[in-house]
Subunit: 289 residues, 2 copies
């Protein structure tokens, strides 16, 4: 009787690749080492992937929220552009941003006295603390006050007044849709102090110009000064990402030299020159805003 | 005898997707409608794809050279940044760039009297003229003189002197490797007039910082003024692309208002503000240059 001894021992691990389709016809793809977590919260599906190229990656409803490799760009740019332009910010509100990335950047500013957050999904914060301890490290700062709930309700009801409000939301579909509307921006106008800023993530002008221009249009209905700025986020659709600041009085392109003198921390993306430069828009973006 | 009549008539076209791996672990992927051309020249494999998302796409040795959707960024930025900074350019040399994109932008400048090109692979020019008529339209301009041959030899032998030399090359591997070396830059220094510029594509600082910094280092051995600038090219690795200008006298960040006044053509990406802004580098790039 013949013994069945294989000539080769096949011991290959399967190659698992994640592909995020940015449209039906194109996307980004990368190799997944391990799926560290998969779960469903009350609001969304949450996945944490470990990848070779980008480190750990958080997916919400199957879409990349951030990767360890390039999250610094998003979080530095959403936080420091308003913070280094506003001359005397003390009270800041973050709407969304449950991963803690914006908070991590904000706590670097010693001038801040109060950092409130309103996040819809407490599971996102829990997952961030478990799988992304460096990203979520700002939650340890005792100026940070976390509220769980609906951002659009929070801004309607709160008696607190803020120097800067940061809207760190997902795409304007589903529960985040209202965070891109005039009504919401009107409520934020009301809870900002007389010289306050609101700063929002405003999508990719290359992929979703309609989203960017709708957000800008709605902000312009409420605020006298509205400016969009850009940065490179390689793992987001097209790699060209926009934020938009709206302001009651100050021009957000103006930086505060006195703030830079007290800076006292190093950053990987943001600097004075980037602050000035990020407001320069290519013609194909400028013509649509 | 039973007749074999299928319940459903399957008449689905196959879904063909092209994936360019930027590393072993990540890449860009998009749907291909048709492969319009596949061939091999003396130097490389050439493919032309028709795609839903990006229009027609040229691949050389399997890598995306450009897509119709976003080529305007690359070609405007490689051409107009040096041209709107040099105060009186008349004679320009393009090394590589056989697709004609840089030439198309250069011929818009009425001040130019002579636009020479040295391209290694005449097949690239032929394919560009056949499949990308708009992109290659500049070849009809009678100021354009096309030479087929090795760029590094051409710059060693030519007696012509130039105001601006543009190096529109592929990645620094294989036949293009020498176009990133000190020796080559030295030859270009010699064929530039006393106030000339060289402008090169210098890869993605996010993906291949070593390539960018090697090019900058080699340019600095030859030229007193060397500055890197950035733009968004969604279909290139990371979407963050760099060019580097080296100069004998003038600061390439300075724009010439008199040149803008005579501009007389519209662009999709480049403008005065972009010219200033593109030289602002994120800290993670600046620290490596």
């Amino acid at each position: 009787m013949a013994t069945h001894k294989p000539l080769f021992i096949l011991n290959m691990e399967p190659e698992i690749w994640f592909t995020e389709k940015h449209t039906d016809f194109a996307g980004i793809t990368f190799k997944v080492n391990t799926v560290l977590y998969t779960g469903k919260s009350k609001f969304q599906r949450i996945d944490v992937l470990d990848t070779q190229e980008y480190g750990r990656v958080l997916l919400l409803d199957g879409l990349i929220m951030f990767t360890e490799r390039d999250e610094f760009v998003y979080h530095e740019m959403i936080a420091h552009v308003p913070l280094f332009s506003h001359p005397h910010s003390e009270d800041v509100l973050v709407i969304g941003g449950g991963d803690g990335g914006a908070i991590r950047e904000l706590v670097k500013h010693t001038c801040l006295k109060r950092i409130d957050q309103i996040e819809l999904d407490k599971e996102v914060i829990r997952i961030a603390k478990e799988f992304f301890p460096a990203l979520s490290s700002g939650y340890k700062d005792n100026r940070v006050n976390v509220n769980i709930g609906d951002g659009s309700e929070f801004v309607r009801k709160t008696n607190q007044r803020y120097d800067v409000v940061i809207v760190d939301s997902t795409d304007p579909v589903g529960s985040a849709e209202c965070l891109f509307e005039e009504d919401f921006y009107g409520c934020i106008y009301n809870i900002l102090k007389e010289d306050g800023f609101i700063s929002i993530q405003s999508e990719s002008p290359f992929c979703d110009m309609n989203w960017t221009s709708a957000a800008v249009k709605n902000l312009k209905k409420v605020f006298p000064i509205v400016k969009t700025y850009l940065c490179f986020i390689p793992t987001y659709p097209s790699g060209m990402w926009s934020f938009t600041i709206a302001s009651k009085i100050y021009d957000p392109e103006d930086i505060r030299n006195e703030r830079f003198k007290q800076m006292g921390f190093d950053l990987k993306y943001y600097n004075k020159e980037i602050h000035k430069a990020c407001f320069a828009l290519p013609n194909f973006v400028r013509s649509k805003l």
